[in-house]
């Protein structure tokens, strides 16, 4: 189904909100699970939006800005996944792959802004030293305004203006290619998880990773809650052990000190 002008504009407005949130990282409505759902609501296909939200959220689970690398923009990826699935009738997991170029486009625009906004810093320094809070605020509004406008334009153009070429592209894709994209959508979470492992995994933590894997592979339960509870259990054990360890160490320190004291005394005699 095609996207109407009203829907395109509404998506643009939502992109302003979600985009600003992804810039500031406050409410996390920029995460795919929310941005997909809202997009589904706007396009009148809430059910598909929710399903796409679950799949895309997992694909982005490990793609976080923590650790210094800016990932493909999750807000745009969420919006475009639902837009593409809705307008070209492909499955949501195929649509994730097709929406990635749009998310990467936004990623590179934001990276460019990070560099460009450095030029505002001397102005901010000047207003800071003059204690000119009004002018200082204006610069901050300006940077946020630029970000909002960009999110609106990118989303409106990608969702509304580019829908005909997009539909033509999907139509021209052979079955094996569409199926390939669908497979990739299912494997994609592995990239995010690998990125999390790169930050978190040390040899001493390996048992916990394997434990979670084994639990989920052999317990038939709908979600990862059992593994999360087991994780919490081990975290508590570790926490109390660490506390005990610290107490013990403090005691040993004390004993050592008093030993020295004694030693000193005896030496004196």
């Amino acid at each position: 189904m095609s996207i109407t002008l009203t829907q395109g504009l509404l998506l643009g407005v939502f992109a302003i909100i979600a985009g600003l949130d992804s810039w500031l990282e406050v409410f996390y409505i920029f995460r795919p699970i929310i941005s997909c759902t809202v997009t589904g609501l706007i396009l009148g296909d809430l059910q598909m939006g929710i399903i796409a939200g679950g799949l895309t959220e997992l694909a982005f689970a490990g793609l976080t800005p923590a650790g210094g690398t800016q990932p493909p923009n999750p807000a745009i990826c969420g919006i475009m996944t639902v837009v593409i699935a809705h307008s070209t009738n492909v499955s949501p997991s195929t649509a994730i792959g097709l929406s990635l170029p749009f998310a990467m486009l936004m990623q590179y625009i934001l990276l460019m802004y990070y560099s460009v906004f450095s030029f505002f810093m001397p102005k901010l320094d000047q207003y800071a030293s003059e204690a000119n809070t009004k002018k200082f605020a204006q610069i901050s509004y300006l940077t946020m305004g630029i970000v909002c406008l960009t999110f609106f334009l990118v989303t409106f153009l990608s969702a509304y203006a580019a829908q005909a070429p997009m539909a033509a592209l999907v139509k021209a894709m052979p079955v094996w290619l569409i199926h390939g994209f669908e497979l990739a959508g299912g494997i994609l979470p592995a990239v995010g998880f690998a990125m999390l492992l790169k930050v978190l995994l040390r040899v001493e933590f390996m048992p916990y990773l394997l434990l979670g894997f084994v639990v989920a592979s052999f317990i038939n339960f709908d979600n990862v809650l059992p593994a999360a509870v087991i994780g919490i259990i081990f975290a508590m054990i570790e926490f109390f052990r660490d506390k005990k360890h610290k107490e013990l160490q403090a005691e040993i320190e004390n004993m050592k000190n008093s030993d020295n004291f004694f030693g000193g005394d005896q030496d004196g005699i």
């Binding site: 500031l24 996390y28 995460r31 699970i33 929310i34 929710i50 399903i51 679950g54 799949l55 997992l58 689970a61 490990g62 976080t64 923590a66 650790g67 690398t69 792959g97 906004f117 450095s118 901010l124 800071a128 030293s129 003059e130 204690a131 809070t133 200082f136 901050s140 940077t143 946020m144 094996w176 390939g180 994209f181 497979l183 299912g186 494997i187 994609l188 979470p189 592995a190 990239v191 998880f193 690998a194 990125m195 999390l196 492992l197 790169k198 995994l201 394997l210 434990l211 979670g212 894997f213 639990v215 989920a216 709908d222 979600n223 990862v224 809650l225 087991i230 975290a235 570790e238 926490f239």
Partner: protein, 262 residues
């Protein structure tokens, strides 16, 4: 004690305001100073209240705070509250600046460990498992949890303000154990997520024997997703960029689809 009451100009309403304004932290983000612009802007109204007509003090505070800072957005109000209590006491500028520089790094470490590496996989994983079956509970759970995390900015600001300089010991002493504990929780869940949500299975048959169903699944279910995740992990360790890995994943999937392997 007496002097503290004498100098106390900030009310709990002001601290709530500070917590709300802490959302502006990344408003003027740039590579050169990271969050400095938003960090300064967020605190301006409270400084104005503390310094009153003293323009010089305000200018000095703003200039000092325009130095590089990069910390955890959900926890930043803790640091703001802490430093604000020192500003209120008119502690000398050098001390405040030193504390800020000493604390923003460890706070970023704690924040990333708790919010990105632990809460995000757990809440995202559970919410997504509802959502991928079409259950609206998924996005609703996610939104409620993250709204709660947003509201935490208020107690964080109060905690920082009330503890004042005492918060420094609390942050520095506990940052190591907090990240350890968070890592354990996070990794357990990531192990489960790899098993549940990386979909990778072969359709190849050798004679009548399906390689996936009759062979791999009998040895260990989900062994392929685990192996593939570790392959990617190894490539990341070799400094390969995530974007390249995403492309590799697509190429592999498309090639396998073309030859009917998957």
């Amino acid at each position: 004690m007496e002097s503290k009451e004498l100098n106390q100009k900030l009310t709990s309403k002001d601290l709530t305001r500070l917590a709300m304004r802490s959302c502006l932290l990344q408003s003027a983000f740039s590579y050169e100073r990271m969050q400095a612009g938003g960090w300064t802007w967020a605190q301006v109204p409270l400084w104005k209240k503390i310094f009153g007509d003293d323009k010089k003090a305000l200018s000095e505070a703003m200039t000092d705070n325009m130095e590089f800072i990069n910390t955890s957005p959900p926890m930043v109000s803790l640091l703001m509250g802490l430093l604000m209590s020192l500003e209120e006491q008119r502690v000398d500028r050098q001390t405040i600046k030193g504390l800020k520089n000493a604390l923003f790094g460890p706070l970023a470490g704690i924040g990333d460990a708790i919010f990105w590496f632990t809460i995000m996989p757990i809440v995202g994983g559970i919410a997504a498992s509802f959502a991928s079956k079409g259950n609206i509970l998924g996005p609703i759970i996610f939104m409620i949890v993250y709204f709660g995390i947003f509201l935490l900015r208020i107690p964080f600001a109060r905690m920082g303000y009330n503890l004042g300089a005492k918060a420094i010991d609390v942050i520095q002493e506990n940052s190591e154990i907090i990240s350890r504990v968070a890592t354990i929780m996070g990794l357990t869940v990531i192990g489960a997520l790899i098993s549940s949500y990386v979909t990778l299975s072969l359709t190849v048959k050798i004679g009548d024997v399906s390689l996936q169903k009759d062979f791999l699944d009998k040895i260990f279910p989900n062994i392929l997703p685990l192996a593939f995740t570790f392959l990617l992990y190894g490539l990341l360790k070799k400094k390969m960029s995530p974007i390249v890995l995403i492309l590799l994943t697509f190429i592999m999937a498309i090639v396998c689809s073309f030859f009917g392997i998957m």
